[in-house]
Amino acid sequence: MADNTSFLLSQMMAELSLELEHINFKLLLKNPADVDLEAVIPVFHSWIQDQVCDELLLDVADYRHVKAGPGIVLIGHEADYSLDNTDDRLGLRYNRKATMEGNNQERLEQALGAALSALERLENEPSLAGKVGFDGRELEVFINDRLLAGNREGREQLQRELRTLLGKLLVGGAYSLSYAADPRRLLGARIHCQRDFSTADLLKNLEAGRIDEFRGPSPPDSNPYS
């Protein structure tokens, strides 16, 4: 009994001290087959040219030849943006590389805000002719630092932090969370919204910081992505 208590205590301590850094958000795209990744390359180059993001943008890496890979990556100093096709799921991904000031909520909001703004920019890019757009319902989040936040140990706290964030983001909308079955993967979750949101809606909600009382159903304990 004593052993069990100290285990729980240490677990709680570990969770309490969990710092979420290097946060990644991925916003899934609708009609991925229609997206021409080649057309995104010049767009990313123009972003470097005009330095349109908060981060210093450096280069473009083209991995279209790799199946279910990182797609087209806009390399930055503080963060990378990509049209990422990992798991054969195409989405706009923001990968925060530099550490951030602030608490976990602030860091989550920063990463999500950056991902949403980048996707909105692509949605409005004339040369892409409206082919790149948010599917409205699915997001992924990862913590890209295994030592800071292990796949299993960090899950509880990530879930708590997400509940707070998603409360603001999906005002009035239900959602569910699922997790990767493979413990070797990064700590992360898939967020399934029960109704459609536009990028602009989510940005607006995030900025307004509205807190809705609604909490989504408890996430399944540990399931493969479904």
């Binding site: 710092e19 850094e21 290097h22 390359i41 010049p42 180059h45 470097i48 040219q49 210093l56 450096l58 280069d59 473009v60 890496a61 083209d62 991995y63 279209r64 030849h65 790799v66 199946k67 279910a68 890979g69 990182p70 990556v73 390399i75 100093h77 990378d80 990509s82 990422d84 990992t86 798991d87 590389k97 530099a98 550490t99 890209n144 630092d145 295994r146 030592l147 800071l148 493979d182 070797r184 993967r185 990064l186």
Partner: protein, 759 residues
């Protein structure tokens, strides 16, 4: 910089071998000292290179964005990690894999590092290493600690040191090998790592092992130290014994050198001490100041192989005995690979899974990607990686696969693929399914579609043209064309380098390409030199020669035309190399002549494959390609190219003296073209041309390559100073390459001059 960097040292303290842990601590301290300005940037650059931490393109803090040179304002400001190399600029981390051997846990570690410190991709190189790109210098100690915990080091992966010891990936399972070279490769790698006799080289030193002489897997001919497994009857006992044919002084680089035979038989117990003696002679007599002449090949060229051999043997006698010479080999011999499952035969195939298309794919995969082992019932399986790239998820899946089908082992190959050995043949279908499920079931390993390319302009600071962009495009087109191609074409090798340094090994391909730039209508256009006549087999038995430079966007047509003609005209059983020789370079060049110019008005030629930016807007200015403006310099350089081509033809006919003279003549013509730019009255007297070229272009450094410095000008001066002496076949051959590089450099110089004038 990662938030967890401060934690890894303690976290892994009891998992890292002490020597590696200490080495990484030292590096971390050096990083801190450099940040405080207490360590000179040059020293820091060498120390990080020796840990495999390279610079990457744009790390001088500038990038041409398609319109102008853009300053990249990194947060660390003016702090550098080497001359002209900004602290915050992302870099490349090379990871050494001796003999290409890995286990499942190591694959998982590399997957984690690719994800957490790079861009999610690990890249397999042509020397069986891994490379991760876009890595921040301050993350490298954590990255190295995680590797050390997995028993992998990055030590001496770059810099003037003994690089990865490579070996034929089929070693131990190959039907044609004399014996398994793996234990010897591992022992040599371990012995030379950090060895005090290997710390004072003027340049890198690359060893390679091969199990036989007829196949290409070890590529021993193009290494500083090449070892081919051999057997003989001992002259005293009459019993069969094993040993090595030892070759020295091979290397690609700008001018490729075939390795020379040092000894036809070295017994295993002499392998390590002889390598040590060679290292000592290289360190003592090798060039130190002029990097361009500092490889072992130049020392051997200067000394002659006889003198070099006798120096090494004398040094060998002086070496104090070292028990590791045999201990390391004995220890390595104790761990050999064995199968996890019982062998057998693959059942007859009718259809598999989803039906005929799947069955066809599986059959092609069986044909191209599998090879029976010498051990009955087992096969070695190649996992073909596009451009050597693999994702973190695929690496983890591969770890699962090797755990399931083997004793958790796998090797990287010099063709930038993986090889899974000891696969029980009845498991082949299941293995194929497992690979295919994660996008690793491509067939065509070692075939035309399996194109090797160096990083080129994607990430390499020296890249001139986009080798990976071209490789991706060719790969796509060859795949689309499908495998209806003639059988002979299916097995051709395409290899692409982004510049003359030949990291893509273009010299030993059937169809080789290396990046150059040319000016068309006053605008810079990315080009590739087409290199024909190389041989991949026989451990890279012959090096090709460039025949013509073609705009990058026309290279796919070059491939189509050459392969189509080969299919149509080849004699029965004729190899591509033999076909090239029989057809003659004049005929082949003339069939490509129309491709040397972009189609009128097609602006796509002014950007490279996979990169929409104008190749060099500084040269292009604004507006369209409005017809040809040919300057006297361009005329002169075109004449030089012509003369060089004639020199190559003379060489092919065996007219060695004529070839040498003409090659030198072509260099003088190119020099004259440049001199004429400043002194239109220059005559034809070679002495005057050389002297004026020296004063106007060499001494002012106007001809200097941004990275190679005065190297190419020295080719001219050296060749001219030897012009009265007879040429050997070898020296004439080298001069052909040097002349091509000199002319390429003259084109670059001309581009720079005209830019300055235009500005």
């Amino acid at each position: 910089m990662k938030a967890s960097n401060a934690l890894w040292r303690d976290h892994l303290a009891d998992q890292m071998p002490e020597s590696l842990a200490r080495e990484i601590d030292i590096f971390e301290t050096e990083i801190a000292l450099r940040k405080q300005g207490k360590l000179d940037e040059r020293l820091f650059a060498e120390t990080r290179l020796r840990r495999g931490t390279y610079g990457q393109r744009y790390d001088n803090g500038q990038r041409h964005d398609g319109e102008k040179v853009q300053q990249l304002n990194f947060p660390a400001g003016a702090l550098t990690k080497g001359p002209n190399t900004m602290w915050d600029a992302p870099g490349m981390q090379r990871i050494k894999i001796p003999a290409g051997g890995l286990n499942a846990a190591q694959l998982e570690t590399i997957a984690e590092l690719a994800e957490e410190y790079s861009d999610g991709i690990a890249h397999v190189t042509t020397r069986q290493d891994f490379q991760l790109h876009f890595v921040h210098i301050e993350n490298t100690p954590s990255l190295m600690r995680r590797l050390a915990a997995a028993k992998i080091t990055t030590r001496e992966a770059c810099g003037n040191s003994v690089r990865n010891v490579t070996a034929c990936p089929y070693a131990g399972v190959c039907q044609d090998e004399s014996f398994d070279v793996t234990p010897y490769a591992r022992a040599l790698s371990r012995f030379l790592l950090g060895h005090p006799d290997c710390q004072n080289f003027g340049r890198k030193f690359k060893p390679a092992f091969s199990g036989c002489s007829q196949h290409a897997c070890g590529l021993t001919s193009l290494h500083d130290l090449g070892l081919i497994a051999a057997k003989r009857l001992n002259p005293e006992t009459g019993k069969e014994e094993i040993g090595f044919e030892m070759y020295v002084g091979g290397g690609l680089g700008a001018v490729p050198y075939q390795a020379k035979l040092f000894s036809s038989f070295v017994v295993p117990q002499e392998l390590l001490p002889l390598a040590q003696a060679i290292a000592r002679i290289f360190a003592r007599y090798g060039e130190k100041k002029n990097r361009n002449r500092a490889r072992l090949k130049f020392l051997i060229q200067d000394l002659g192989i006889e003198k070099f051999r006798s120096l090494v043997h004398e040094e060998r006698k002086l070496l104090p005995f070292d028990s590791r010479w045999t201990e390391y080999i004995t220890q390595s011999l104790e761990s050999t690979e064995s199968p996890a499952r019982v062998g057998g035969e693959l059942p007859e195939l009718v259809t598999i899974g989803a039906g005929e298309a799947d069955t066809e794919n599986f059959k092609k995969w069986l044909k191209f990607n599998t090879r029976p082992q010498r051990q009955p019932g087992y096969a070695a399986v190649t996992v073909a990686l596009p451009l050597g790239d693999i994702t973190a998820n695929q690496l983890r899946a591969l770890a699962d696969i090797v755990r399931r089908f083997t004793r958790e082992t796998i090797r990287t190959t010099v063709e930038q693929n993986f090889l899974i050995r000891w696969v029980s043949k009845p498991d082949l279908l299941e293995l194929y399914r497992a690979l295919d499920a994660v996008g690793l079931g491509d067939h065509g390993a070692g075939a035309l579609v399996d194109i090797a390319a160096c990083p080129g302009t994607d990430t390499c600071k020296l890249g001139i043209s986009s080798s990976r962009g071209l490789a991706a495009e060719l790969r796509k087109r060859v795949s689309e064309k499908g495998f209806q191609c003639d059988e002979a074409v299916q097995n051709l090798h395409i290899k692409i380098s982004g510049c003359f340094n030949s990291c893509g090994q273009h010299h030993v391909a059937d169809l080789g390409f290396y990046g150059v730039s040319r000016k068309i209508g006053g605008y810079a256009v990315p080009h590739f030199q087409v290199v024909l006549g190389g041989e991949w087999e026989h451990n890279a038995g012959a090096y090709g020669l460039p025949i013509v430079a073609v705009p990058a966007k026309n290279i796919p047509q070059v491939v189509s035309r050459l392969t189509d003609r080969y299919v149509a005209e080849r004699n029965s059983g004729e190899t591509f190399k033999e076909f090239v020789k029989r057809t003659g370079k004049t005929a082949l060049k003339s069939m490509l002549e129309d491709l040397t110019r972009p189609p009128a008005g097609d602006r796509s030629f002014f950007s490279d494959w996979g990169d929409p930016r104008a190749y060099s807007l500084g040269d292009m200015g604004v507006g369209e390609c409005a017809g040809e403006v040919v300057s006297p310099v361009d005329f002169g350089l075109a004449q030089a190219e012509r003369e060089l081509f004639e020199a190559q033809l003379a060489f092919e006919k065996g007219e060695i003296q004529e070839a040498g003279k003409r090659a030198l003549g072509s260099m003088v013509t190119a020099a004259k073209a440049l001199v004429k730019f400043e002194n239109p009255d220059i005559g034809d007297d070679p002495d005057t041309i050389i002297s004026e070229f020296r004063i106007r272009y060499h001494d002012t450094q106007k001809f200097f390559d941004p990275f190679a410095g005065g190297k190419f000008a020295n080719y001219l001066f050296d060749a001219y100073s030897r012009s009265g002496q007879p040429y050997s076949s070898e020296s004439s051959r080298y001069l052909l390459d040097e002349a091509q590089l000199f002319i390429d450099a003259a084109h670059s110089c001309s581009n720079r001059l005209e830019t300055v004038v235009a500005a």
